[in-house]
């Protein structure tokens, strides 16, 4: 599917992804620095996906139809944001694929995830997201 993306579009996607990777890296660095200040450095534990043997397409639907709208309105409570992170973890593998809908879910959630909210969950999202962006940056020019 990536092969069907026109060159001009790939170029613009790469530009956008590079900028985004810088933003995410900056966020990670600043959060790491603040975590060191309080003596709680190190990466958070990754979410285990073994307990969620669900269809990635259904996870994507729930994320985009059920969880994204309240997130956009700033009304995602901590329990629901934990649920969103779990579902995002379920689609990580699919988000590495040519099907850019899954990767774009991460784009959407990053864009609306509250910067002032739970720092742990934002950092967790940033770690996964940065790896995903790097992955797609390597694949897009092909």
């Amino acid at each position: 599917v990536l092969n069907s993306i026109p060159l001009v579009m790939k170029r613009e996607l790469i530009t956008g992804l590079r900028d985004r990777l810088q933003d995410v890296s900056r966020a990670l660095n600043s959060e790491a620095a603040s975590a060191e200040c309080v003596g709680a450095g190190g990466l958070p534990q990754p979410v285990t996906v073994d307990a969620w043997p669900v269809d990635p397409a259904e996870c994507l639907r729930v994320l985009m139809v059920v969880l994204l709208p309240p997130l956009k309105r700033g009304k995602l409570d901590s329990r629901t944001s934990a649920e969103a992170l779990r579902l995002l973890s379920c689609i990580v593998e699919a988000a590495h694929s040519d099907d850019l809908r899954f990767f774009d879910a991460f784009n959407n959630f990053w864009e609306h995830w509250p910067a002032a909210g739970d720092a742990g969950s934002r950092r967790q999202l940033a770690v996964i997201y940065a790896a995903l962006i790097s992955h797609h940056l390597k694949r897009l020019p092909a």
Binding site: V8, L100, R101, D104, N107, N108
Partner: protein, 242 residues
């Protein structure tokens, strides 16, 4: 052929009435219903604003003519309310046209003759759901409008009437191009009605051949907008139609 157009506002009515004026062999009725969870006050205010806009800005007096001839029908309840269904049943249309921004219930589809047509700004069955114009453009796939009969799902209706490729846009602003796609709906419905009256066979919307898409992120959307700004045809290289 009797056609009922399900409209969200009086302004939609005037847009369609303009396109369909002078149609000798088809009778068009326009049904405007209150949105679910919308108060009567909001509904009335919204329609008055749209009517004023249609008459003053668009200089379109079709509303008055339609009202006088009984072709403009206002339902005070939502489209799927029993009284709205009864109104449509009494009209006994051959086909319905979608311009109302709701997902239709089975009860309304059942009383709409052959069904309700929707103009979807993407190629079906490949692109279902939201932001399909953006996703089609990103993937370099054919750009255009698919007219199909709806069911209760999201772009899952089985009968596809036709895909109308769109070859040219005015300007290089992607949001404007999207508006131009939506504005094509009345003209494409007319063409679809011609296909139906000529007994053209419907293609099957095999949902297993496509995917449901969701609202596109700002990151991807901005990439699409920048690519489009460099010339609408530069990115859309996936089809011979373009």
């Amino acid at each position: 052929m009797k056609v009922v157009v399900y409209c969200d506002t009086f302004r939609h009515v005037t847009r369609f009435a303009r396109e369909f004026s002078g149609e000798a062999n088809r009778e068009f009725y326009y049904l405007v219903a209150r949105r679910r969870n919308e108060s009567m006050l909001t509904f009335t205010a919204r329609q008055l604003v749209h009517a004023a806009y249609a008459i003053i800005v668009d200089r379109n007096i079709a509303l008055c003519r339609l009202w006088k001839t009984g072709r403009l029908i206002t339902c005070l309840g939502p489209l799927d309310a029993p009284e709205s269904i009864d109104t449509v049943r009494r009209l006994a249309p051959d086909v319905g046209l979608h311009s109302s921004g709701v997902i239709y219930r089975k009860s309304l589809i059942a009383v709409s003759g052959m069904g309700i047509l929707n103009a979807h700004i993407g190629l079906l069955p490949e692109f279902r759901g939201r932001s399909v114009f953006e996703w089609s453009y990103l993937y370099g796939r054919p750009i255009g409008v698919t007219v199909f009969f709806v069911d209760e799902g999201i772009d899952t209706g089985r009968r596809l009437v036709s895909f109308f490729p769109v070859k040219k846009f005015t300007g290089r602003v992607f949001a404007d191009a999207k508006k131009q796609m939506f504005a094509l709906a009345p003209a494409l419905y007319r063409q679809a009605l011609n296909c139906i009256q000529e007994n053209q066979k419907c293609d099957e919307n095999d949902v297993s051949m496509g995917k449901r898409y969701y609202v596109m992120s700002s990151l991807f959307l901005q990439a699409v907008e920048r690519a489009f700004a460099q010339g609408p045809d530069t990115a859309a290289n996936g089809s011979d139609d373009l």
